[in-house]
């Protein structure tokens, strides 16, 4: 082991700084994807309940596709397909250029679509858990649909949806590792680079696993805090 630890040094001789930078990219990607994915998921869940058959049908197709495709395939389709689409759009606008899609953006879109499809299921369950009378009471008080949603439904929704969304977050954190395949310098990619240079795959991949595990444990702690906060109004009823 004495031979291996110096490989993790920060600076030009070790891979510590590269791996730390990769870990930062991993966390940034997950954090950037989260708001986009769960917001889209809520919209999909609302669309699924819409009376408009076209809208609810489109939402169902969206869910089926992005929950059924392997995440890796979704990512490659977004990455290469996005490139083709942009090129086609540019050509239609009269430019001819070779475009390279940004790997971070492609990762964000692909993982965001997957997160949207999975969180839509969580949102749908939470929406169902809110009694119809809550909405009706809102309307009876003269609130508009949007006000009723924002002031009556949403605060209750978040509490019910939180455990499911927490699972979605943990899955997202792990899925970010796939983005290493389109050369985004995330934790997995940087570890690969370190392995290529040092020929110490076991050591470095175990380090990467431990960092991911650390992120999961840390997330677990934050989630527990959030749940305690979301449930603070329910404490007395239970005691």
């Amino acid at each position: 082991m004495d031979r291996l630890w110096p490989l993790l040094a920060f600076g030009p001789t070790g891979w510590g700084d590269e791996i730390a930078a990769g870990a930062l990219v991993t966390i940034s990607l997950a954090l950037a994807t989260l708001p986009f994915g769960i917001t889209l998921g809520l919209l999909v869940a609302l669309a699924q309940r819409a009376e408009n058959r076209l809208l609810s049908g489109a939402a169902t197709v969206f869910n089926t596709v992005f929950r059924g495709l392997p995440e890796l395939l979704t990512l490659l389709i977004v990455y290469y397909g996005g490139q083709l689409l942009l090129q086609w759009l540019l050509a239609a606008a009269g430019f001819s250029a070779r475009v390279q899609v940004n790997a971070f953006a492609a990762g964000m879109v692909a993982l965001g679509l997957v997160l949207a499809a999975f969180s839509a299921e969580v949102w749908a369950g939470a929406l169902n858990s809110i009694a119809k009378g809550q909405r009706e009471a809102g309307y009876a008080l003269g609130l508009t649909r949007w006000q009723t949603f924002r002031l009556v439904v949403a605060p209750q929704l978040l509490r019910v949806a939180l455990p499911g969304l927490s699972n979605n977050w943990l899955a997202l954190l792990k899925e970010t590792s796939l983005v290493s395949t389109i050369a985004l310098p995330d934790l997995m990619r940087q570890t690969n680079v370190a392995v290529g240079n040092t020929k110490e795959p076991f050591f470095f991949f175990v380090i990467a696993i431990l960092i991911y595990l650390g992120f999961s444990i840390l997330s677990g702690g934050v989630i527990a805090l959030l749940e305690a906060r979301a449930n603070r109004g329910m404490m007395r009823a239970r005691a």
Binding site: T64, V65, L73, E175, M188, A208
Partner: protein
């Protein structure tokens, strides 16, 4: 005639070159998932029982195992096994085990089994814990041995509770198995990536999407049918 009709939607040249190979890849994906899911069920049962053990050390080890495999990416686990094994070639050769880990297919098989076992263990544990204590007590009162009670009384009921989450886990495994393509296994994803790298024709990714969706939807529907059949005694007439 039919060929012309197909030609309207897909590139026939590409289909001739890669069509059969992609179906081969689909077959590899099916085999990989089927084998690992069954092996994972056996290991998962052992882990679930260890998790519920009164022995603190055994329960602790099982908890750590489940946490480790559920808390980290499958891709990273696969790389540890596949690339990590190469580093221990000499001791593995000495132990006569190198032939197993030399092969990417076996590495994927081992990693996926260990991974799905952790998820299935949690599902089984949840199922077992959802049963009233009286079930095990009644079995004991009838004179059943602990193993008989487990296999004849507890497990059948726990599996009914776990049917739906187990179906979800199977579908997650089908999707997750695509990462095997990153260690040179030619599953559906592997063949697709190969076809794309040679033809630069984006269409192959869309074919793969259709095949994966068809596979997942079929499995989901068959599983739901099985679930309905197995729980038919629990529905009011």
């Amino acid at each position: 005639m039919i060929r012309d009709a197909i030609g309207l939607v897909v590139d026939l040249n590409l289909l001739d070159r890669y069509g059969w190979r992609m179906l081969d890849g689909l077959w590899v994906t099916l085999k990989l998932v089927a084998i690992t899911f069954v092996l994972g069920a056996v290991l998962g049962l052992a882990v679930a029982l260890a998790r519920l053990s009164r022995n603190r050390v055994v329960a602790g080890i099982a908890f750590a195992y489940v946490y480790l495999f559920r808390g980290t990416p499958l891709l990273a686990q696969l790389f540890v096994v596949y690339y990590g094994a190469g580093q221990f070639r000499e001791p593995l050769e000495a132990a006569g085990l190198w032939w197993i880990l030399r092969d990417a297919w076996n590495c994927a098989l081992i990693t996926f089994t260990l991974n799905t076992a952790a998820y299935q263990a949690e599902i089984l544990r949840g199922g077992i814990q959802s049963l009233p204590k009286g079930q095990a007590e009644a079995a004991a009162a009838l004179g059943l041995r602990p193993w008989q009670a487990l296999f004849k009384v507890v497990l059948p009921q726990a599996l009914i509770v776990g049917l739906r989450p187990l179906g979800n886990e199977l579908i997650l495994m089908i999707k997750a198995s695509a990462v095997a393509s990153l260690v040179t296994v030619y599953d559906l994803m592997g063949v697709t990536r190969l076809a794309f790298s040679r033809s630069y024709n984006f269409e192959v990714y869309l074919w793969a999407a259709v095949l994966y969706l068809a596979l997942v939807e079929t499995v989901r529907r068959v599983w739901t049918l099985g679930e309905r059949r197995l729980t038919r005694h629990m529905r009011p007439a």
